[in-house]
Symmetry: C2
Amino acid sequence: MPPVNAPYRPEGLTARPLHARIHPDAVAHNLARLRAALPAGPAAPRLWATVKADAYGHGVSRVLSALRGADGLAVLHLDEARACRRLGWEGPILVYGGLYSPADALLMDTPDLHLVITHAAQLDWLAQAPLAHPPAIWLRFAGDIHHTGFSATAYRAAYDAARALSRRGVIGDVGHLNHYARADEPDGVGDADKVFRDTIAGLPGPVSTSNSAALLKHGARAADTQWVRPGLALYGASPFADTSAAQLGLRPAMSLHSQVVGIQRVAAGAGVGYGGAFSAPEIMDVGIVTCGYADGYPRHAPTGTPVLVDGVRTRLLGRVSMDMMAVDLGPVPHALIGAPVTLWGADGLAVEEVAASAGTIAADLWTSLSARVPAHLAGAAAAR
Amino acid sequence: MPPVNAPYRPEGLTARPLHARIHPDAVAHNLARLRAALPAGPAAPRLWATVKADAYGHGVSRVLSALRGADGLAVLHLDEARACRRLGWEGPILVYGGLYSPADALLMDTPDLHLVITHAAQLDWLAQAPLAHPPAIWLRFAGDIHHTGFSATAYRAAYDAARALSRRGVIGDVGHLNHYARADEPDGVGDADKVFRDTIAGLPGPVSTSNSAALLKHGARAADTQWVRPGLALYGASPFADTSAAQLGLRPAMSLHSQVVGIQRVAAGAGVGYGGAFSAPEIMDVGIVTCGYADGYPRHAPTGTPVLVDGVRTRLLGRVSMDMMAVDLGPVPHALIGAPVTLWGADGLAVEEVAASAGTIAADLWTSLSARVPAHLAGAAAAR
């Protein structure tokens, strides 16, 4: 008999049991782990903690205290930089997106900003709007990723223009920034680094090249720069397909939790979910979990994507719908309505594994988490 | 020569040009269109406008005025129902997610709630907590989608229990609710409807079965119910793979806009984006658009996904990254930095087309739109 009359085990008083738990302690641990991968001493690279996209979905306000040991924060745009100031961050802030229009100068009302400059007009805009707090700038090299930035042929002219502004006091120091397309590959940065280093040869200024993948896989090159700028690894995901976060000594900073809110006994041959994407090969007990693609769970996750029910590993069945999904209760026949469900980020269910099953990466899952999913602080921070 | 020194054409003063435009006029039009698909007169089905997931990502507060003509609103959980009341909605509200725990009764502090009941314990919880405003209830049939709800064998016992509560005044009327797994298919609901109708045969109470797809494709069955509950079509997307929204007379209620923020001239054989997922077959001009997967644009969108630059149709190149993407400027060689970009929802670029290219559906894109993307009202509502 299907246990539709099963007793309910309340876990809390929220109207909907779906929630994320954010672990600032894990962020602090991961920051220390990344520091330890770099040389110590006065020549050690400084570290920007990348907190764009609201700290990769974790919430800047929730993790900022765990990032006190960083030398700076890195954000996408000036509004984010100002938000970090409002939260009390007094150190340097790197702004990747830099300037979108001349009017953005109005947003540069705080000292110790570092602006990434990606095209020449941005330097003109700075020249036209002298600022009370001249920002340091970093010239972005287009590199092998060919997103924003200066090509090898345009780079030196941009550098000369920037240095002229620096000498006039319109801006502060001028640095050199590159970003690799293939830092996760064993031989992924050698050629790209050579082109970059040839381009900046003889040009004074600090250098920054390394994200999480480059820092962890190409440490000698990262050590030969003045600033590194990890993001993904700070939040506890591995940048590498063949190495887990645990193997790298990283701890997950976000876990996603829900509950079984319905149980169906499904006959052999019956479909589950939209379009009957899963068809039961035999009679099955199916748990319905309140979490769907509108919450940020990937609609691309297919049947077989791992899920924990009451701590037991099982699998998603059929198509994820807007507000719910179905899971196989075969491995966990004792589960009742109210049974706890972990969707990612706990022991035995790394977010990378769920992401890989859905054909994407951990950062996509984290940043897709919807505003309708409440986040709770976990660990020591929750007790404060 | 790559136009990296191109003049900038400001479109506004926002720090980042990425934004959504919400068109309440389109929602009002679509509501009228759906009404017109139903019979008129006193026997006409009433209409719940489904506004769960913050009106499918459009924002309940932005579209509520356009939904004045609906008979009720449908939401997922009680917190959303209370938010609709705070926004001034005084009519009926259907709550799909219903009750997650006995404590949820504390949230039922408003009249004219309609609760979807999906398992028997929920009736016990209601019996234990008599309410000042007894809600109407709808018993959900598990149907052919096998998500939440009562099986054919459990349904009548649930109905008897509900009717007993209704007679005692603990709850109001008892209705019958079904949801189809295959309403988008030509013969998708016949068998499912027969099972449902057999199950409720002889049981008094209103009936609701039809979402957008069922209403538009199986109108005679929808007309034979007391309430319909469209969602997707209200916001202007087609539920059908073979029929466009325009063919259905629907207008898109959300468009997503950004700008070119960088231009790269890329050599033959060079990669674009992470992992070199796109390799230029010849020298190309590539536009960089400030919009990425952390904004809600699907990371699954492959090279070739359509994009409009300065109104000209072109295509995505390579892997979408967290904050930006690359597009082919071949079809629009006059584009400069600052050129307007439409990512979905305008003439010539239906959201369904972008969704299909990414292997998903319009509702997934809309509800994935990130909180970091500002939304502006467009149309007549913007002038008020």
